[in-house]
C-alpha cells in the first residue's frame, strides 16, 4: 500500500510539472510595456517554487517507499535532535526563500508602482461600484468636474455624482462603461470605489489592482497592442460580482481621437 502511495505521489508530481513545462494552460499575451518584467518575475517565482515542490514531493515519495517495508523490525529514523529543530529548519528555509523572492520581486513591483507617471499621461478616472466599472475622461476642457456623492444616480447614468447645473467643468466630462485608450500612449488611472472593495484586473495588461473605498489609487501603464480585452472584478464584492466586468478597447491614436470627438458631441 505504501509503495502504491509513493508511486501515485510521484506520478502526480511529474504530470503536474509536465503541464507547466509544456505550458498547457499559460498566461495570455502581453499588451503592456511593463508586462514582460512581470512575466519574468512570475517565471522566477515559478522556478523557485517549482524546484522546492518537485524535490519535496519526490523526497516524500522516497521516504514513503523506504518506510513501506513493515516485514523487518526497523527503527524509525528521526530528524537529528527531534521535531523542534526540524520545524526551525523548515521555517528558516521557507522564510529565506520568501524573503529572497520579495527582494528580487520588489524591483519589478517598484518599477510599476513607485515610478512617477509620464507627465504626458492621459488621465482616466475609474470608478467602481456594485457591480460596474465606469470610466471618466476630462473632455475638451481637460478638467474633471467635482464629485458629489449625494448626486449619484446610476439610473440617469450619473454614477460619479456630477453636478452639471452648477459645475461647468463637469459638463463635458465623458462617462462611459467601456475603457477606450490609444495604443502606445501612457495612461494614468485614478481609481476609487463608491461602495466596497473591488479589483481591476486585465490579465493581458498584467495589472490586477484592488480598489479600496476611501482611497484614491493611481496606476499607470502603456498598452502596446491594439485589441479588445476583458476587464474583470477579482474581489468578491457581492451578489452581482460574477457579472462585474467591462471591456478595454486599445485603438490607434487617430481612431481614439475620432471616438473622443463622437463622445464629446
Amino acid at each position: 500500500m505504501g509503495k502504491l502511495f509513493a508511486a501515485v505521489v510521484t506520478v502526480i508530481t511529474l504530470v503536474s510539472t509536465g503541464i507547466f513545462i509544456m505550458r498547457v494552460w499559460w498566461l495570455p499575451q502581453i499588451i503592456s510595456a511593463h508586462g514582460a518584467s512581470i512575466d519574468r518575475q512570475i517565471m522566477e517565482t515559478m522556478i523557485a517554487a517549482g524546484v522546492l515542490f518537485v524535490s519535496s514531493q519526490l523526497l516524500l515519495s522516497l521516504f514513503v517507499w523506504q518506510s513501506s517495508d513493515t516485514s523487518r523490525q526497523r527503527k524509525i529514523k528521526t530528524f537529528p535532535g527531534g521535531a523542534t529543530p526540524m520545524v526551525i529548519f523548515a521555517v528558516v528555509l521557507v522564510g529565506l526563500e520568501v524573503l529572497a523572492m520579495t527582494f528580487v520581486g520588489s524591483k519589478v513591483w517598484a518599477s510599476v508602482y513607485m515610478t512617477p507617471p509620464d507627465p504626458d499621461s492621459m488621465v482616466i478616472d475609474l470608478q467602481t461600484g456594485q457591480f460596474a466599472f465606469y470610466f471618466r475622461y476630462a473632455g475638451p476642457d481637460g478638467k474633471f468636474g467635482t464629485l458629489h456623492p449625494d448626486k449619484i444616480n446610476e439610473g440617469n447614468q450619473n454614477p460619479y455624482g456630477l453636478d452639471p447645473a452648477n459645475d461647468i467643468a463637469s459638463r463635458d466630462d465623458i462617462v462611459v462603461g467601456t475603457m477606450t485608450i490609444p495604443v502606445n500612449k501612457p495612461i494614468l488611472l485614478t481609481m476609487h470605489s463608491k461602495d466596497v472593495t473591488h479589483s481591476f484586473y486585465v490579465p493581458e495588461l498584467r495589472i490586477q489592482q484592488d480598489i479600496v473605498p476611501g482611497m484614491l489609487i493611481p496606476l499607470h501603464f502603456t498598452a502596446t497592442k491594439t485589441g479588445r480585452f476583458e476587464i474583470v472584478c477579482t474581489q468578491l464584492c457581492g451578489l452581482g460580482h460574477y457579472n462585474m466586468r467591462a471591456f478595454l478597447e486599445v485603438v490607434p491614436q487617430d481612431q481614439f481621437d475620432q471616438w473622443l470627438k463622437t463622445q464629446s458631441q
Binding site: 456594485q130 446610476e154 439610473g155 447614468q157 462603461g177 451578489l239 452581482g240 457579472n243 471591456f247
Partner: protein, 241 residues
C-alpha cells in the same frame, strides 16, 4: 360574558345594516373622463447612451444603442412616462383583480413607469436569458430585493401603501424604473405623444396631479360634468441640466 356577546351581536347588526343602506344608494354614473397632454418648454437634458457591453445577450436585442429614460420626449415637445392621477375628490374604489405586468427585457424595464393602485397585484417577468435582481427602493412599504434567474416564473407582488418607488436592478446598474402606487384607481401614464386619458369618472370636482421623475409635480382643479374634460394639459419647465 353574556353582555359582551350581546354587544358584539348588536355591533355586527348595526354594521350590516349600514352596509345594506350604503349599497342601497344609487351609484353615481361614471361616465366622465379627463384627458390632455403633457409637454415641456425650454431645453430638456440630453439622454445618455447606455453601455450594455457586459451583457452581450442584451446588446443583441438592441439594434441601436439604448438611452436613459428619465426624460423621454416626443413630437411637439411631448413628454412620455408622466403619471397623471386624481389626488383629491376621488370616491374610492377597490383595486382591479387583473394583475399588471412589469417586464425585464433587453436589460430594460418595460414599462419604464408602472402605475398601480394600492393593493393591486402585479407580476415581474424576466424575459432575458440572463439573471436580474429586482430591487424596489421602498421607504413606506416593505423593501425587498429579489434575484430572478432566466426561466424562473414571474414574481408576484403588491404594495399596501401609496408610494412612489424607484426600482433598480442590482446586477445591471443602468436599469431604472418606477412603481407608482396610488390611492386611486383613476390614473394614467402619458404615452409617446404625451397624451393621457383618465376614464370612468363620476361627475364632480377633482384635483388632478401630474408627476414626472425629472420635472416634479403639478396639480390643477378640474370639474367633470358628465362629458370628457378635454384639454387638461400640463406644461413642465425643462432645463438642460
Amino acid at each position: 360574558m353574556r353582555t359582551k356577546y350581546i354587544s358584539m351581536t348588536a355591533l355586527t347588526l348595526v354594521a350590516g345594516a349600514s352596509l345594506v343602506a350604503l349599497a342601497g344608494q344609487p351609484p353615481r354614473p361614471a361616465s366622465g373622463s379627463i384627458s390632455g397632454k403633457i409637454t415641456y418648454t425650454g431645453t430638456p437634458p440630453k439622454m445618455k447612451a447606455i453601455d450594455m457591453s457586459k451583457e452581450p445577450s442584451c446588446v443583441k436585442q438592441h439594434p441601436t444603442p439604448v438611452t436613459t429614460e428619465n426624460v423621454v420626449t416626443g413630437k411637439n415637445n411631448s413628454i412620455q412616462y408622466a403619471v397623471i392621477y386624481i389626488s383629491s375628490g376621488d370616491q374610492g374604489s377597490t383595486a382591479p383583480t387583473k394583475a399588471l405586468k412589469f417586464d425585464q427585457k433587453g436589460c430594460q424595464y418595460i414599462p419604464h413607469v408602472l402605475a398601480m393602485q394600492v393593493g393591486q397585484a402585479f407580476q415581474i417577468i424576466n424575459d432575458d436569458p440572463t439573471s436580474h435582481n429586482i430591487h424596489p427602493l421602498a421607504k413606506v412599504n416593505p423593501e425587498w430585493n429579489k434575484s430572478q434567474p432566466p426561466g424562473t416564473p414571474p414574481l408576484n407582488a403588491q404594495y399596501p401603501k401609496a408610494e412612489f418607488i424607484p426600482v433598480k436592478c442590482n446586477v445591471h446598474p443602468w436599469m431604472h424604473g418606477y412603481f407608482i402606487v396610488l390611492n386611486t384607481s383613476h390614473y394614467a401614464v402619458s404615452d409617446d405623444d404625451g397624451e393621457f386619458s383618465i376614464k370612468d369618472l363620476p361627475p364632480g370636482k377633482y384635483t388632478v396631479t401630474a408627476w414626472h421623475e425629472q420635472f416634479g409635480t403639478q396639480s390643477q382643479d378640474v370639474t367633470v360634468a358628465g362629458a370628457d374634460a378635454k384639454g387638461t394639459n400640463f406644461v413642465f419647465k425643462a432645463v438642460p441640466y
